[in-house]
């Protein structure tokens, strides 16, 4: 029996024993040990918000669902990362995202390297049981280097967080409510006219879909590069 207050906690995940430091989340431990939990809003290096709800896991005994990316395991916790209920929920969440905006892969610059697309494939989403909503959003091509197509946006908030937490500019935020919610630049000015945007492109490269892209790149070229993020996050915390 471990004494309370110990730094390392032991718990079980899918019946197997694991341990975690006080800093680690359920998702960290799962990834460390090759357990696949899908996510869309999570990204190493920026703060977790648990908003896409794809990484929900079940806590045995309570039937409670918690986001693996933002929940730290507790001593003796019995976590289930995969069962028919969770699989069905994850599929439904992806279907809801597909039903929300225009996610027609064939005409998207991120076709082939889109996280929404690959999560859908992994989860076996082969049809959408909900009506397509497709609200009409504008495309903003006012920036010289980048463009944003809100119709492809899944509102994961990665661009908002990376701009605030890593670049320190907080150029992006959200406006409106419900399915009219959209990412905006400053006080909803065209991106190209933003006085706060540094043009660093971090938002473009953390975007999981084709919503943010570099101008003039072909589908094959528009692969996102994210390796910089954990490194920058570490440097910002004063690490070497």
């Amino acid at each position: 029996m471990m004494t309370p207050g110990t730094a390392v906690k032991t718990f079980t995940m899918d019946g197997k024993p694991f341990s975690a430091t006080e800093e680690e989340t359920i998702l960290d431990v799962a990834r460390e040990n090759g357990i696949d939990i899908p996510t869309l809003c999570h990204l190493e290096g920026i703060l977790p918000t648990g908003q896409c709800r794809l990484c929900m896991v079940e806590i045995q005994g309570s039937g409670r669902l918690v986001p693996a990316c933002a929940t730290k395991p507790e001593e003796g916790m019995d976590i289930i990362t995969d069962n028919p209920r969770l699989r069905n929920y994850r599929k439904m969440i992806v279907e809801l995202l597909f039903s929300e905006r225009n996610h027609i892969c064939a005409v998207c610059v991120s076709n082939g390297h889109c996280e929404l697309q690959s999560v859908a494939q992994r989860l076996g989403v082969n049809h959408v049981r909900f009506a397509y909503l497709h609200p009409r959003f504008m495309l903003d091509g006012s920036h010289p280097k980048y463009e944003v197509d809100h119709n492809r946006c899944i509102l994961c908030g990665r661009c908002v967080r990376v701009c605030e937490e890593i670049e320190g500019a907080h150029t992006r935020d959200l406006r409106n409510r419900g399915i009219r919610t959209m990412v905006i630049t400053d006080f909803d000015t065209p991106w190209g006219e933003s006085p706060t945007c540094t043009g660093c492109g971090k938002c473009v490269h953390v975007c999981p879909t084709g919503a943010l892209a570099e101008k003039g790149k072909s589908v094959a070229e528009m692969a996102k590069r994210r390796h910089f993020l954990p490194y920058l996050a570490m440097r910002r915390r004063g690490g070497k």
Binding site: Q51, R53, A131, R177
Partner: protein, 538 residues
Amino acid sequence: MTNEELLAISEKEQELQQQVRYRIMVCSSTGCLSSRSDEILAALEAEVKQRGLENEVLVKKVGCLGLCAAGPIVSIQPDGILYKEMTPEDVPAILDRLGGEPLEEKRIDTHQPFFTRQKKNALENAGVVDPERIEDYIATGGYAALIKVLTEFSPSEVIQEVQKSGLRGRGGAGYPTGLKWSTVAKAEGEQKFVVCNADEGDPGAFMDRSILESDPHRVLEGMIIAAYAVGANQGYVYVRAEYPLAVKRFRTAIRQAEKMGFLGQNICGTPFSFKVDVRLGAGAFVCGEETALLQSVEGNRGMPRLRPPYPAQSGLFGKPTLVNNVETYANIPAILRNGGEWFAQTGTEKSKGTKVFALTGKVKNTGLIEVPMGITLREIVYDIGGGVPDGRKFKAVQTGGPSGGCIPEELLDTPVDYESLKALGSMMGSGGMIVIDDRSDMIDVARYFMEFSMEESCGKCVPCRVGTVQLYNLLGKFQRREATEEDLKTLEELCDLVRSASLCGLGQAAPNPILSTLKYFREEYLAKIRKSTPVEEA
């Protein structure tokens, strides 16, 4: 301010009010004001002056008298006469009848259950004191609890008293108030905050607004006592900007309390200092959720965040923060004045005290009521509410706003307490209660609440943002009789997803109107399922 000084103010005010032979009170809450009660007040003042009755008749504006359906209401004291549906033209007639036979055609029977079955605590002064005069509040014993607490109680003794009372959060979830206070008190930090949640966005709810409009000092006193108990030095009242009268009266109350030394540095000569500011919300339902509310107070977009950490540990600006609802604070002064045990005498085993409800919809006596916990829904709807008007039949009562559910006739004998309502698939909520008659289609009712949740979703998490829209659309298919068996299955699955997977309590509760109507009125859904396959699909 010492206790003696407070008593002197109280006695002087009481004397002033006793000097006159009659006190004519005019309801000046938003409901009655919207039917010209301000003109009645002006007409009364002018007429009293013209008749030279200033020394005999005191005309004053008061808060909500409860029976909104009969507004504008005027109360004549000490005779205990209530007049309904007043107009400025009625003024001479009621002055003529002062001390004589009352005007029967305008008189409200105060012996009816609407008045006799209620028990008031949070609304004790509503309709009695002038909400814009601190002296009037003091005359009813106001701020005595604060002075008593500051001079005789240690912070932990205050918390013990609140714990003894068994008071639970009146915002809806029913978390034990004393426990919340002790958690914030024990949290480490030099700077702590006390926040009053006056966002109240539920359709059909106006409890918090009425309390703030009717008795702002009572809420303020509750907040100051809470701040002393948990060790906070700054408070915020988060109130939606659609409540201009509540905002105005609360701001007036803050200024008056500051002037008398109940707020500011070294309150009542003790080492305790506390300030209160008002923060206006732009009117987003989600900002009633405590973590979203705190974001909004900080000046950010009001979106809920994950808990833990709970606001008690890390709330406003990362500091320990106590968040309570208006009605919760309004209960505090009486608890400290009369003791926790006194409060715990009312109510049920697990739900103590009284609860304020905004009774609306297809019921005769719409209005603001306060009843002891444990009273049955039937007593509220039929005795206090007077039943369904126009000879229609009762169908359901919707409690708890968009997070609640519809309760059918056969369950009307359920006692009103947190656990019983939850067991029925509804909830206490902040206290909206909407009576539905047999003319309403329950799918329409569910869709109405779904539309509200869909429009008000903050957009942060997928199940709530998109799930509520799809639920709304599916209900539309039922309304148009286009739904299939498959749609019913999808509807139920999606309800479960939104309930179990949404990020905050509002998303998690959003499917409740559908789930409860599916449970109690399933035949209405089944009746709307398309029976035959259309030819083109066959």
